[in-house]
Symmetry: C2
DNA sequence: CATATATATAACCAATTAGTTAATTAACCT
DNA sequence: AGGTTAATTAACTAATTGGTTATATATATG
C-alpha cells in the first residue's frame, strides 16, 4: 500500500477489524481478550494478523506487559481519515437537507390530504 | 464484500478512486473526463473498473446521456461512513486536545525562558 | 448504412488478502 | 528445569484486486 490514507481505509474495510476498534473504544484489551468474540469464526493467528493491520495503519498501538500485549486505540491515527471525510461533509449534509426537504413535502402533503379528508372530500390521490 | 460499510471503506482505500471523488466534488464529469488525468498510468478499462467500484459502493451515481456516462458524487452514500467516523470523534479530538495542551506547555516554558532572559538573568535552562 | 466516439465486457495475469495448521518464542509459575 | 499461558511466525492456499489487451456495444453523424 503506498499512502497512509489508503492503508487506513483498507484497514477499516473489514467488519472484524471495525469490531475490534469498537471493543477498544471501551478501553484497553490484550490480544486474547480481543480475540474472544471471534474464536468461533477464526483462529488466533488470524486475529493477530488483523491486529497487525490495524497497528500498521496507525489506528491502534500495542505495548508489552509480561506475556500480554495490551492494545489501545490510537485516537491520533483517526485524524487524517476524519480530515479527509470533512472534505465531503458538504455533500452528505446537502443530501440530508434534501431528505429533510423531502420529508417536509411529504408531511405537508399528508397534512393537506388529511385536512381535505376531514373536510369530507376524501379524495386522497397524490400526483 | 459482505456489508455496505466495508464496501465503502474498500472503495476509499485507493488513491485513484479518491482522486476521482475529488474531481467529482467539483461537479459532474463523464468517464473520459474522469479518466484523463490517469491515462498516463492506466488504461481506460482500468478507469471503468474503478468507477464501477465507486458506483457499487454507492459513492457515485452514473447516468446515461447519449454515448456519455455522466457521473456525480452521491452525497447520500457518504453518510454512513461519516456516521461511523463520528463514533470515534471523541478519540481523535481527545488527542487533538492533548496536542493542544502539549503545545501550550511548550509555549509557556518558552515564554518563561524568554522573560528571565530579558530580565538579565540569562539562565535559559529548561527542566 | 458506415464510421467515429464513448464506454463496457471478456479473458487473462500478478500481487495481495484473509484464512488455515504447525511450530516457535516469551514470560510466568512451581 | 519443566510446564503453562500468551502471542507470533512460517508455510501454505483460495479468493479478491487492479491491472492488461482485445473485443463488443451503443449512440451520433456523414
Amino acid at each position: 500500500m503506498p499512502d497512509v490514507l489508503s492503508e487506513k481505509f483498507a484497514a477499516l474495510a473489514d467488519p472484524t477489524r471495525r469490531a475490534m476498534l469498537a471493543r477498544l473504544s471501551q478501553g484497553e484489551a490484550n490480544v486474547s481478550e480481543l480475540a474472544k468474540p471471534f474464536l468461533r469464526d477464526m483462529s488466533l493467528p488470524a486475529v493477530t494478523k488483523h491486529l497487525k493491520v490495524l497497528e500498521r495503519a496507525g489506528l491502534i498501538t500495542k505495548t508489552r506487559e509480561a506475556q500480554w500485549r495490551p492494545c489501545k486505540l490510537n485516537g491520533d491515527g483517526f485524524k487524517d481519515v476524519a480530515e479527509w471525510m470533512e472534505l465531503y461533509r458538504a455533500y452528505w449534509e446537502e443530501s440530508l437537507d434534501r431528505l429533510d426537504v423531502y420529508l417536509k413535502t411529504v408531511m405537508a402533503k399528508k397534512k393537506a390530504a388529511a385536512k381535505t379528508t376531514v373536510k369530507g372530500k376524501k379524495d386522497g390521490r397524490q400526483k
